[in-house]
């Protein structure tokens, strides 16, 4: 870790007027500073900013500094969001990590985190060892020659499923961006991870009202039961009437370079009967365009299966038919 200057602004105006990397829960930033992956000269501790509050009166409005654990246990939060949060990290980390910071998590690719190796995301143009190296955890969707790292956030997947938006503040004022548009595919510039402009700060997360999203779930498949990133995850919300799907939201994590919305699956589900067969037919579209690497080919099948599982679990009290 390199030495740095620490300041602690007390207003958003002061924060965005200042220079330096924002520090909230510190669960990503400090970690990467210890590894010398991030070497900011100036760090702004924003924990004193008035960016709190959980408002469920009309959809969901979350202050960016709300802790993951507080959001997760709030009774008015859609199940897919609380489920994604509760399956993230560990209780200790959830108690520290902010919801805004969660959306700014950096890659968990082991090459990104190891400064002795090449990595286009950390050191543009240096190369991508993961393409031919240890890539079991890496993405099959949204990849490029330059980068195949997955996006690590769980709750971002749930928020993308529900058309979540974020409010960004800067010295120039505030703007709102759909989270789905905020994250950028790696392309030739994997080091540009999002649409954040210099000095901008996430102040609020907004989820539009979607009453049927009370029927939603987050299924996370991983190598151990807790405290581990997803091999594949699925955020699903279903509007079911008369044993048929009226509307659906489906997004997946752990398989793509950004939180990945599956609109084709959603379209296939609309009007479909609530049966395992229909769910399998819709989920068959989930991995369209997938480009597996040497060690992560299983994610193609796992992706389809995870979507089916989430749909089945969400409709367990509905009649289902099995073909296998």
């Amino acid at each position: 870790m390199q030495s740095f200057e620490l300041t602690a602004p007390t207003s958003v105006d002061d924060a965005v007027a200042g220079a330096g990397t924002y520090l909230a829960g510190g669960t990503t930033l400090v970690d990467l500073m210890k590894l010398d992956v991030l070497t900011p000269r100036h760090v702004q501790d924003i924990n004193a900013l008035p960016l709190r509050g959980i408002d469920t009166a009309d959809g969901l409005r979350l202050g960016a500094l709300e802790r993951m654990s507080d959001v997760a246990r709030h009774p008015g939060v859609y199940p897919v969001i609380s489920g994604a949060l509760l399956q993230s990290a560990s209780q200790q980390l959830r108690n520290m990590a902010s919801i805004g910071g969660n959306l700014m998590q950096r890659s968990r690719c082991s090459y990104f985190r190891d400064v002795t190796t090449a990595c286009n995301r950390r050191d543009p143009g240096s190369g991508c060892p993961a393409r031919s190296g240890a890539n079991r955890m890496h993405a099959v969707l949204g990849t490029s020659e330059a980068c195949v790292a997955t996006h690590p956030s769980d709750v971002a997947v749930a928020l993308v499923a529900l058309d979540g938006q974020i409010t960004l503040a800067s010295a120039a004022g505030t703007r709102m961006v759909a989270l789905r548009d905020f994250y950028r595919l790696p392309g030739d510039t994997p080091h540009v991870e999002n649409d954040l402009r210099p000095g901008e700060l996430i102040t609020e997360i907004v989820v539009p009202r979607l009453d049927w999203a009370v029927n939603s779930t987050y299924v996370k498949v991983r190598d151990r039961q807790s405290y581990e990133f997803a091999l594949c995850s699925a955020a699903v919300a279903l509007d079911v009437r008369d044993a048929h799907v009226v509307d659906a939201r489906v997004a997946v994590g752990g398989v793509a370079t950004v939180p990945w919305r599956l609109t084709a699956v959603e379209t296939a589900l609309r009007g479909a009967p609530v049966t395992e067969d229909a769910f399998q037919d819709a989920a068959a579209l989930a991995a369209d365009g997938a480009e597996p690497l040497s060690a992560n080919g299983f994610k193609v099948a796992l992706l389809r299966r995870t979507v089916v599982r989430a749909l089945c679990e969400l409709t367990q009290d509905e009649p289902t038919g099995s073909r296998g």
């Binding site: 299924v219 151990r224 581990e228 091999l231 099948a301 599982r309 089945c312």
Partner: protein
């Protein structure tokens, strides 16, 4: 059987236990280790000028300007590598420089400024791709040759025996490199004064570390004092003296100031030593009734280029089952990988994964219950030896275990619970009963308390509490009057934590020391001028008795004007080795659930029933066995170091090297069949530190097969191994 809470538990849970690196001394400097970024080659140049000029830096050592260290050697461990002595690099993450500064942060930051220039050569890191480099392994620690063939009369070869078997199964099994991942990273604080060197560092035996450091620094062992009262986990990974201990001791001597050094978690994976990767081929031949006719077990293990350790997996097939024909071989493949060493149940843990999986495959081929197959082939002693087991109750373990676990509810194709496929698996656990020569000192004090001291260590095993219990038993007083003391080289040698030997070794020495000190006490009591002068005295219940009177030993010492008396007692393996073979046994059971859509395998129930002789402290013993069984689950489903083609560890930290968390582990049921084995040692206890892990990985794999019909012959078993075999 006694149940006693660990004596050291309050200190540990309140943070008052002082581990090696908790010691801070006036004027202490901090050292940071620099490690290599290549796996094979020569260091051509090292630019340390920037590091030397960095704030607070006191010294930078490298192979170009080394701290002189000699290579220590011991009969059990062989040579122990010491850092910075030459310019060759044989693995990624090898210590190549040592930066010492006024603060830890200064040392760490300066270490990043050391520029190393390498002449890099291609690395060999894959075991499977380098089998052509395999070498015959040297004989094992027990002296047994690594290749052994035992054939029944009239049988020409193992191939003939197998060819003539009505039922044959064969399989190729593999297990990955593993790291001990003890909570306490390897670390040391060293300082020199008029009495010589003192080193505070977690280790598996203070006297081992004393001998290593004395040899490395070329000083008399009496001038080296090692302090090791608390150890944050070892598991074989702290048997050898660590790089930080060597470097801190040598740097402190050079600088005349105390030096602290600790490895980072990432460095623990490369700068200590790991369990080797293994590849094993097993063929079992049996009659249709399940009686084994032939067993072949050929093993290969990875090693560093010094071949510092062999993982003797084929040895598992010498002890577990009775077979008229047996052929085992063990080869070692030198690679450009971090050093290899003992790790909990070395040989037995990965060896039992292969053998016990193969036995399950044989049971399937025979359409026979896996327990029945195992009971039918129970061994009477090691293959090729005339010496039978001193005491073996494995059949009882299986009978009791099957009852407790509900084995009768198992079906050959598992059961279903909603979306979960449920299976049960079992496996045999075998681990040799060993002990090492040990000397213990007992001091009786005038305040009616006693000290029991030995230089070994308690890295979480519970030895300290066992010493209090066995000391109290031998002196016939309450446990609260015994102060057990461990972890100083000033104490008598013995009680090293290794080979599951400590209770048997130290316990036997306590019996001898107690006998000696009580003899001395009674002779003092009846000496001329003493309270029982001229009388015949006896000793019981902490008192000397004679002439119708009695005095506590403290009263007697006070009357004699003595503060204390001490005696040492020694014990070690002897004549019993010519009469019997000795081993502990166990039956492992587990239930595994596999999700039918997404393939996660989760253990939902576990039971181990163990025949390990006398259990001295029930509570700590259960914890030991549970811990071992959890290691088995970890090996089966989570753990494995991935070494890349260039030698880099792909997952050399605790984010990537997965260990189970609480959510992965169900209630773990442990049961003992207690038959004290006094043929082995006077206490009757055999070891329990390692047997818990033996067989458990196979029990999990066998349960996965039972649940899904998918046979996985490697560990860890992960989702992609099962996905294709699941129903849609």
């Amino acid at each position: 059987m006694t149940t006693t809470t660990r004596i050291d538990a309050p200190l540990k849970v309140t943070g008052r236990a002082r581990y090696g690196s908790d010691h801070n001394l006036p004027g202490m400097l901090h050292g940071y280790v620099v490690t290599s970024t290549i796996a094979n080659g020569e260091i051509v140049a090292m630019d340390v000028a920037a590091a030397q000029a960095a704030p607070g830096v006191v010294a930078v050592w490298s192979p170009f300007d080394p701290l002189t260290l000699r290579t220590p050697s011991t009969p059990i461990l062989g040579d122990t590598w010491v850092p910075l002595q030459d310019r060759s690099v044989t693995h990624h993450g090898q210590p190549v420089a040592f930066v010492v500064a006024e603060t830890y942060e200064q040392a760490r930051d300066a270490s990043a400024l050391v520029e190393v220039t390498y002449d890099e050569r291609p690395a060999r890191t894959s075991l499977a791709d380098n089998l052509d480099l395999a070498e015959e392994a040297p004989p094992g620690l027990d002296g047994e040759p690594s290749t052994q063939v035992v054939l029944a009369d009239g049988v020409e070869s193992i191939d003939d025996a197998l060819a003539g078997s009505p039922v044959v199964v064969e399989g190729r099994y593999s297990t990955p490199t593993q790291n001990h991942a003890a909570m306490e990273p390897h670390s040391a604080v060293a300082h020199w004064d008029a009495d010589g060197l003192t080193v505070y560092s977690g280790n598996q035996g203070a006297f081992v570390q004393q001998a290593d450091l004395a040899a490395a620094l070329d000083v008399d062992p009496s001038a080296v004092h090692t302090v090791n009262p608390f150890v944050g986990g070892a598991f074989g990974g702290k048997g050898r003296t660590s790089v930080p201990a060597f470097l801190a001791a040598a740097a402190s001597r050079a600088l005349g100031r105390p030096v602290k050094a600790a490895l980072s978690r990432e460095q623990v994976f490369t700068a200590t030593a790991n369990r080797p990767e293994t590849l094993q081929e097993i063929t079992l031949g049996a009659d249709r009734d399940g009686t084994l006719i032939g067993v072949r077990h050929d093993s290969w293990c990875s090693a560093d280029t010094d071949r510092s350790f062999v993982e003797p997996t084929s040895a598992a097939s010498r002890v577990a089952y009775r077979t008229p024909n047996l052929a085992v071989s063990q080869k070692v493949v030198p690679l450009h990988i971090p050093r290899t060493t003992f790790m909990r149940a070395p040989g037995e843990a990965p060896g039992s994964f292969a053998l016990e999986s193969a036995m399950d495959e044989l049971a399937v081929a025979l359409d026979m219950d896996p327990i029945e197959l195992r009971l039918r082939n129970g061994s009477l002693g090691p293959a090729g030896s005339d010496l039978q087991w001193s005491s073996k109750y494995l059949d009882d373990c299986y009978r009791i275990g099957a009852e407790r676990f509900g084995w009768s509810r198992r079906t050959p194709t598992g059961t279903r619970d909603g979306d979960w496929l449920v299976g049960m698996g079992t496996a045999t656990a075998v681990f040799p009963a060993l002990r090492f020569p040990t000397t213990t000192e007992i001091t009786l004090r005038a305040d009616d308390t006693a000290l029991v001291s030995v230089g070994g260590s308690d890295p979480g095993t519970g030895l300290l509490t066992v010493m209090a219990l066995l000391g109290a038993e031998a002196l016939d007083v309450g446990t609260e009057r015994i102060t057990p003391r461990l972890g100083l080289s000033a104490y008598p040698p013995g009680g090293m934590s290794g080979g599951s030997t400590a209770t048997a070794s130290v316990g036997s020495a306590i019996v001898a020391a107690a006998s000696a000190v009580l003899e001395e006490l009674q002779s003092l009591a009846s000496a001329p001028g003493a309270p029982f002068a001229g009388q015949d005295v006896t000793y019981a219940d902490g008192r000397v008795l004679g002439g119708g009177r009695s005095m506590t030993f403290g009263e007697l010492l006070s009357a004699l004007g003595r503060d204390a008396i001490s005696a040492v007692g020694s014990s070690g393996p002897g004549e019993e080795l010519t009469k019997h073979s000795f081993s502990s046994f166990g039956a492992q059971f587990c239930e595994v659930r596999v999700h039918r859509w997404t393939g996660e395998a989760r253990v939902s129930r576990m039971l181990g029933v163990f025949d390990a002789g006398r259990i001295v402290n029930d509570q700590a013993a259960r914890s030991q066995l549970r811990g071992g069984m959890i290691w088995g689950v970890s090996a089966a489903l989570h753990e494995g170091l991935e070494i890349e083609g260039d030698g880099r560890l792909a997952n050399g930290d605790l984010a990537g090297y997965l260990l189970p968390v609480n959510a992965d582990i169900p209630e773990v049921d442990v049961h003992f069949v207690q038959h004290p084995d006094t043929l082995h040692n006077p206490v009757g206890a055999r070891g329990i530190g390692e047997i818990g892990v033996v067989g458990m990985a196979a029990a999990v794999a066998n349960a996965v097969y039972n649940a899904t019909g998918v046979r996985v012959r490697h560990t860890p078993i992960t989702i992609e191994d099962l996905l294709d075999g699941l129903p849609e």
